[in-house]
Symmetry: none
Subunit: 226 residues, 2 copies
């Protein structure tokens, strides 16, 4: 009966406690999987899936499929701004929640992700390559520039002559801990092999943890500074 956009629709979406928890978890700017969001919201995966499909349908969250995972994140800064404004209103009425505990810090630092480097080190390497235009993002695609290829090969990283569609040279991979992109694809694999071959780092038995030696650590940071 009224003019104007349907405020009630999206407000009702955010109004459900489970969905609100999910959105607040995504307010950190990191991408989370459906199961993680289920745990954050305190509901079963089925319920989580149901809610996430609704949120995505309404354009509040965007999703990125990666293997059997689905990484969800806030759609854009407008949604974040809306949630922020709502937090402000909620604050002054005196409604707050409780807090949860952290997890293992060892895995967050450096670990293997399938066959490439993940964790803080992985993210830093990725950012460093991007900052120096050795790596360029092209929408969903990721490309190694000519300078980037020379840089890596001169360093000692072995790269194939040409890349195929089936196994791309570079892929971005969302990080489990940092929730930022890091380098996957053949180049990612080669880079990790390089670190291990040089003795800069070694894998911890029966774990995904990768331990950098003191020497390897300083060499890494010298090369992949920001």
């Amino acid at each position: 009966m009224k003019e104007g956009p349907n405020i009630a629709g999206i407000a009702a979406l955010i109004g459900d406690p489970a969905r609100a928890n999910m959105l607040q978890a995504l307010m950190t700017g990191v991408a989370l999987t459906a199961s993680e969001l289920a745990q954050e919201a305190g509901v079963t995966p089925q319920t989580s899936s149901f809610h996430l499909s609704r949120l995505a349908e309404a354009g509040l969250v965007s999703l990125r499929k990666q293997g059997r995972h689905k990484y969800y994140s806030l759609a854009d800064s407008d949604v974040a701004a809306l949630l922020e404004a709502m937090s402000g209103i909620a604050m002054r009425t005196g409604m707050t929640r409780v807090r949860t505990g952290p997890k293992e810090p060892a895995l967050r630092k450096a670990r293997v992700c399938y066959n490439h480097l993940a964790g803080e080190y992985g993210v830093q390497a990725y950012d460093s390559l991007l900052a120096r235009d050795f790596l360029v993002e092209d929408g969903e695609q990721l490309h190694l520039t000519g300078d980037g290829r020379s840089f890596l090969t001169e360093l000692g990283v072995v790269l194939p002559e040409k890349e195929t569609k089936r196994r791309p040279l570079c892929k971005s991979c969302l990080d489990w801990s940092a929730r930022r992109s890091h380098l996957a694809g053949i180049a990612g694999t080669s880079l990790l092999s390089f670190f291990l071959d040089q003795g800069w780092a070694k894998r911890v038995e029966g774990s995904r943890i990768i331990e950098f030696s003191r020497d390897g650590d300083s060499r890494f940071h010298a090369i992949f500074s920001l």
Copy 2:
């Protein structure tokens, strides 16, 4: 299980169609009685009373008792900004009301947002003031410069001597249609009053639409050119 304010609470409040209708009706800036709001929302007075008490309890609306009437209005500009932001999100998902009539273009052009001017005209005034350094953005804050104050007062806009922290002279408010900022705060209110008092524009009854006369339109564009 999470930290942070309980956004689900207020979102759920706005999420009910009846309450959302009431709040949108109050976006016109005028105070409405409980029965009028009941009619706006399309519910019985009992239901309206129930909803209004909840909205008041949450601090979304304020009320002024006058005789046997109770006049409700939006609590403050923060609530208005929240509703405006939500309209913006709802717009882009195509979640418009069933009855999205011919009023919409008029709303985009010029409308009242709580107590100040929004729409294309509001955005243009804002931009024009910014371009001439009459208005300066300082992070989240917004300030009227000395030149800006003289400009407005010489024009005939009435401004208070000093501004308080509680009721800032200038605030920016995000526009749902233009997705740009426009001027809120006391200065925004005074500016709108000026337009109405001068007869440059008038309010359309029972709507948020503001109609500029031909003369008022040319005067406006002469002053707030870019």
